[in-house]
């Protein structure tokens, strides 16, 4: 009896020790990642199956939080960064090279960044409802020349990443004529919301005809709702490239696990799941392996993108041109 | 003896000057026109107003700097003498136990006794809102009885009552004062109240509270300022 008690106690103790020794990988992720509809739970499940570790998401602000915490940050890895912050992030010196072989990438442009690793992408696009618009503008020029009763909703470039991407998109297409382009667009813009959610809500409620969103948005409606009436208007002038990135913290106390996670990001497990997990195009998966709904998407031939240095140089003036034109 | 020595109390635009003494156990009426400073004087005795000059003494003890709750005084205001949301028992119990505890058997017996003395037997569980004005005055007096302090101040608490009812209340005040052997000081602007009830009259007019005069002598040979006041009210 006594020996049995002892055995059980020892068993519990060793189990407890094993628990305590399970290494923890702390991952900072955007808020929507961790909801039951976001990609977080799937990433956690897949990665924990191969790492004998405990992956813990800490949702919320990404770079602001890391910059506030400095080198005392708890984060080992951060996932969900956008290109608008990579320059600031790189200059902080808080991030380490990812060391992942980039040859599997299937992005529409060349990517050689050694610190920030893409995991999915899309493009800015105006999304519309085919039941309300028969013939969408066939080009950006056509959009500018569309009658002023075409109602658009966009996001504010000062508070929203997609809003900023739109401003850079217009800059890339029209260059010095960007402000004139905004002048033509202004009467059609109903409002510029704080974030993407408000805009998209207005669109699904029928308040506007077109919403600034992503080329991948229709995939959600096709796959989750069986609804093929939502489409992205594709413009021959090109669409601005939007990519989401992961990066490893230089000060991580779990360097092996962090490295393992970074390679996992480009693995087929991760890439196969991310399309429907995050409603974006996988960064390293050939098109024939995309889910069916994604294969039906209209995608642009031409992709526009500014490097972080170019963007940093253009950004202030591009936003100011937007502000001037829309304030008139 | 309640001594008010060379006392000066600030009023809205002027000041009230007082220099007088009131012996224990007396009934004193503060008589005078509206705005003369009767209530101001009462407030100064009770400690709600600070004297700018002079001293207040009770039985030789200096009260001038004492806080209102440290003075041997109970006061009835013109209104709001009872908490409307508490029963009479809880209201009266505050006189016995300022910590607000519920009345125990002994306290209940004393409360019931006090209510009987003022003619409110069996009404301990009523709230003030369910009583008439006269009954509310009686309840407040019952509390004064329980507080059992040697100085009782009344700031026209019965002004709103009819003449007959008011006389009844004044009789009750006399009883309460006598049973406590307390000095009772009552503000009134009605000479008839003073004549029928008070032993002494302190006439307050034009910024001065005159020393007390026995009631008979006061009304037998009224001062000129009082005649003017009477003349005014007709």
């Amino acid at each position: 009896m006594r020996s049995l008690t002892f055995t059980v106690a020892a068993g519990c103790l060793s189990a407890g020790l094993a628990m305590a020794e399970t290494p923890v990988l702390t991952v900072y992720a955007p808020d929507y990642f961790v909801s039951e509809w976001g990609p977080g739970p799937k990433i956690e499940e897949l990665f924990e199956a191969r790492c004998a570790c405990d992956l813990q998401f800490k949702p919320g602000d990404l770079l602001p939080r890391i910059l506030l915490e400095g080198d005392r940050t708890e984060a080992d890895v951060v996932i969900g960064l956008n290109t608008d912050v990579t320059k600031k992030a790189r200059e902080s010196g808080l991030f380490a090279p990812h060391g992942v072989d980039l040859s599997p990438l299937t992005l529409p442009l060349e990517w050689t960044d050694e610190v920030f690793l893409p995991f999915n992408y899309g493009h800015t696009a105006f999304v519309y409802d085919t039941t309300r618009i028969d013939t969408p503008p066939a080009s950006f020029d056509a959009l500018l020349d569309a009658p002023d009763d075409l109602r658009l909703v966009i996001q504010d470039p000062r508070s929203s990443i997609s809003g900023l991407a739109l401003v850079l998109w217009v800059q890339a297409v029209y260059g010095d004529g960007a402000e004139a382009a905004w002048d033509k667009l202004a009467p059609k813009i109903v409002t510029a919301t704080k974030g993407w959610s408000e805009s998209y809500g207005m669109f699904t409620d029928g308040e506007v005809d077109m919403v600034l969103s992503y080329t991948t948005s229709p995939a959600y409606h096709i796959i989750a709702e069986g609804d093929e009436t939502k489409k992205a208007a594709i413009f021959p002038e090109g669409h601005y490239f939007m990519v989401e990135l992961a990066a490893k913290l230089a000060g991580t106390d779990q360097p092996e696990l962090a490295d393992q996670f970074m390679s996992f990001v480009l693995s087929e497990d991760f890439q196969g799941m991310i399309a429907t997990g995050n409603w974006s195009i996988p960064a390293a998966l050939s098109q024939d392996k995309w889910p069916e709904g994604f294969q039906k998407l209209d995608l642009p031939e031409k992709v526009l993108f500014y490097t972080e240095d170019e963007a940093a140089e253009l950004r202030a003036e591009a936003v100011e041109a937007w502000r001037r034109a829309l304030s008139r | 003896m309640l001594r008010l020595e060379d006392l000066q109390v600030a009023m809205d635009a002027s000041a009230l000057k007082v220099d007088l003494a009131l012996p224990p156990g007396r009934r004193v009426a503060l008589l005078g026109p509206s705005g003369a400073g009767k209530s101001t004087l009462l407030d100064a005795i009770a400690g709600f107003r600070v004297a700018t000059q002079g001293r207040i003494l009770w039985q030789g003890r200096d009260l001038t700097q004492s806080r209102p709750d440290a003075r041997p005084v109970s006061i009835l205001f013109q209104d709001s003498n009872l908490f409307p949301h508490l029963t009479l028992a809880r209201n009266l119990c505050l006189a016995l136990h300022p910590d607000g505890r519920r009345p125990d058997d002994e306290a209940n017996a004393r409360i019931e006794g006090a209510l009987r003395r003022v003619g409110l037997e069996g009404m301990a569980d009523r709230k003030p809102g369910t009583l008439s004005g006269g009954q509310q005055g009686r309840a407040a007096l019952a509390r004064v009885l329980l507080m059992a302090r040697p100085v009782i101040l009344l700031d026209e608490p019965f002004a709103a009552l009819g003449p007959a009812l008011k006389r009844e209340m004044l009789d009750l005040v006399r009883e309460v004062g006598e049973s406590l052997a307390a000095l009772v000081v009552m503000v009134t602007h009605d000479p008839r109240d003073a004549a029928g009830w008070a032993q002494d009259v302190v006439f307050v007019a034009e910024g001065v509270a005159h020393p007390p005069v026995p009631t008979d002598r006061f009304f037998g040979d009224p001062p000129q300022a009082f005649r003017d006041y009477i003349g005014e009210i007709g």
Binding site: W37, T191 | P84
Partner: protein, 505 residues
């Protein structure tokens, strides 16, 4: 003396929590950054829209509150409760509801089109003001309504027996009441509107409607320019304090004498015209406030079926936070229910939530893991943000109690505890119920500082709404928002009702 010590420590805690975070952010930034011309333009717009919003809210509240105070009709109590709902609605839900009514494809325009009339456009300064009035009119109405109810019946009886006309009654009763209540109500609403952000952006129609809070957001999240964020936050605080000081000067202290706790029967406004007038105002207010609410409910009903376990757990967390915030806020408010306390609390709603969150993050971080503190910090911040409203509601009544019974308390030599237990709390039950209900509802709906303190396992319901929207789950989000609305309203109703049932009679 004990009461004074309590008031001082409550005030110190308040000052530490409002000014501390700004100071910490400032220290971290190494000083203020200078503001650009765009920032000053944002300041001008912010002031202008806040001024308009607060003015319209209080001016329109007068006839509505007066009508509600002097009319008896079936469903009046329910209407009074429901009219409070917009104030506690999550911003995004309310904005969607307003768009569904006043937007291009909204009910109003559908009606106008059907009648062959030109349509209206909600987007612009007028849209921002409309939304702010929608949020804050109920608050102003409730404040006035409570004040009218606190007028002793004797005053109306006197007015009736004197046969006072409309103008005379206005001078004698209503006018002084306005002077007492309106400046405070105006200030609170003005200050709320100072920190407006998402409403101004969505309905403002573009960068013309740039507010200071947007500039702070931009500085904080996009440019990591803490110096600029701190400078803007201090500016916002200064504006709020200036407004508060002006309001304190304008509003007199005069109140009404102690009533006798009787139901207030009214004799005024018995003619056909006054009845029609009051009826019209009640109807208009009900339509304006309840129709957008109703659309939010309709949108949410199908989504209720999509609520997952995550959302239900989030609802549980939010309830916990709301109840904790309410208890804290009440304990905090009672010792501060004075003019000085109210002024001191004003910064709590004027301080940018972003700067507050960042400051708290910097303060907490050296000692504790911010993630573990998510719910406690949210509860604390919600209590802090609700404090000015609680004080606005409690202060006039608290002062009345002191004025009416302070001398009786002294002469009875009541102990502080006896005063608190037997007089203070029972006499303040009605406003406390209202204040607690408001706090609970606000704490249910407020996002607070969660962006830096998020805990994946302890999400609150409003955050869940945003997460669902961010994952294309618009319908589920509407359902979760409806759940949030129902819970907020239930809490509000329970507390408010609890304060009124058998209150101090």
């Amino acid at each position: 003396m004990a009461a004074r010590a309590l008031a001082v420590s409550a005030a110190l805690a308040l000052a530490f929590l409002t000014l501390g975070p700004v100071a910490v952010v400032l220290a971290r930034a190494g000083g203020f950054a200078t503001l650009g011309p765009g920032d000053w333009q944002a300041v001008r717009f912010t002031l202008w829209q806040a001024l308009l919003s607060a003015s319209f809210s209080v001016v329109l509240a007068v006839p509505v509150a007066k009508a509600l105070a002097r009319r008896r009709f079936v469903g009046r109590a329910l209407l009074v409760t429901l009219l409070g709902a917009p104030f506690i609605l999550p911003v995004i839900v309310a904005v969607m509801g307003l768009i569904a009514v006043f937007g291009q494809a909204g009910l109003v325009n559908a009606g106008l089109t059907a009648l062959g009339l030109p349509t209206i456009d909600i987007y612009g300064v007028h849209g921002v003001v409309l939304a702010h009035v929608f949020f804050n009119l109920p608050l102003a109405v409730r404040m006035l309504f409570s004040a009218w109810q606190a007028v002793p019946a004797e005053h109306f009886r006197l007015a009736a027996s004197l046969g006072l006309g409309v103008q005379a009654q206005w001078r004698v009763i209503d006018g002084p009441l306005m002077v007492r209540v309106l400046p405070g109500a105006f200030t609170v609403i003005f200050v709320i509107c100072l920190t407006s952000f998402a409403v101004a952006l969505t309905l403002g129609g573009g960068p013309r409607a740039t507010t200071v809070e947007l500039a702070i957001y931009q500085a904080m999240r996009f440019e990591f320019d803490l110096g600029r964020a701190a400078a803007l936050a201090v500016l916002q605080l200064a504006l709020a304090l200036a407004a508060g000081l002006v309001a304190l000067r304008v509003s007199g202290q005069s109140g009404f004498g102690a009533g006798r706790d009787r139901e207030v029967p009214r004799w005024d406004g018995q003619g056909a015209l006054p009845r029609l007038w009051d009826g019209a105002w009640i109807l208009l207010a009900a339509l304006f406030l309840l129709v957008p609410l109703l659309t939010a409910v309709m949108r949410g009903v199908p989504g209720l079926l999509l609520l997952g376990p995550d959302t239900l757990r989030a609802a549980g967390h939010s309830l916990m936070v709301a109840l904790g915030s309410t208890a804290l806020c009440m304990a905090w408010a009672l010792p501060l229910a004075s003019r000085r306390g109210e002024l001191l609390a004003l910064p709590a709603i004027a301080i940018s939530p972003l700067v507050l969150g960042t400051g708290l993050f910097l303060i907490v971080r050296p000692f504790m893991n911010p993630f573990d503190m998510a719910l406690p910090v949210t509860g604390l911040v919600n209590a802090l943000m609700a404090l000015p409203f609680a004080l606005r509601i409690l202060r006039p009544e608290a002062e009345t109690v002191v004025r009416d019974y302070g001398r009786l308390r002294t002469t009875l030599r009541m102990t502080p505890l006896a005063w608190l237990r037997l007089v203070w709390l029972p006499r303040l039950r009605r406003p406390m119920g209202f204040a607690a209900g408001l706090t609970a509802a606000l704490a249910m709906g407020d996002l607070g500082v969660i962006a830096l303190f998020a805990d994946p396992d302890r999400t609150t319901l409003p955050l869940q709404v945003y997460r669902l929207m961010g994952s294309y789950q618009m319908e589920a989000a509407a359902g979760a928002a409806l759940l949030l609305l129902m819970l907020s309203l239930s809490l509000f109703w329970l507390f408010d009702r609890g304060g009124r049932v058998n209150a101090a009679t």
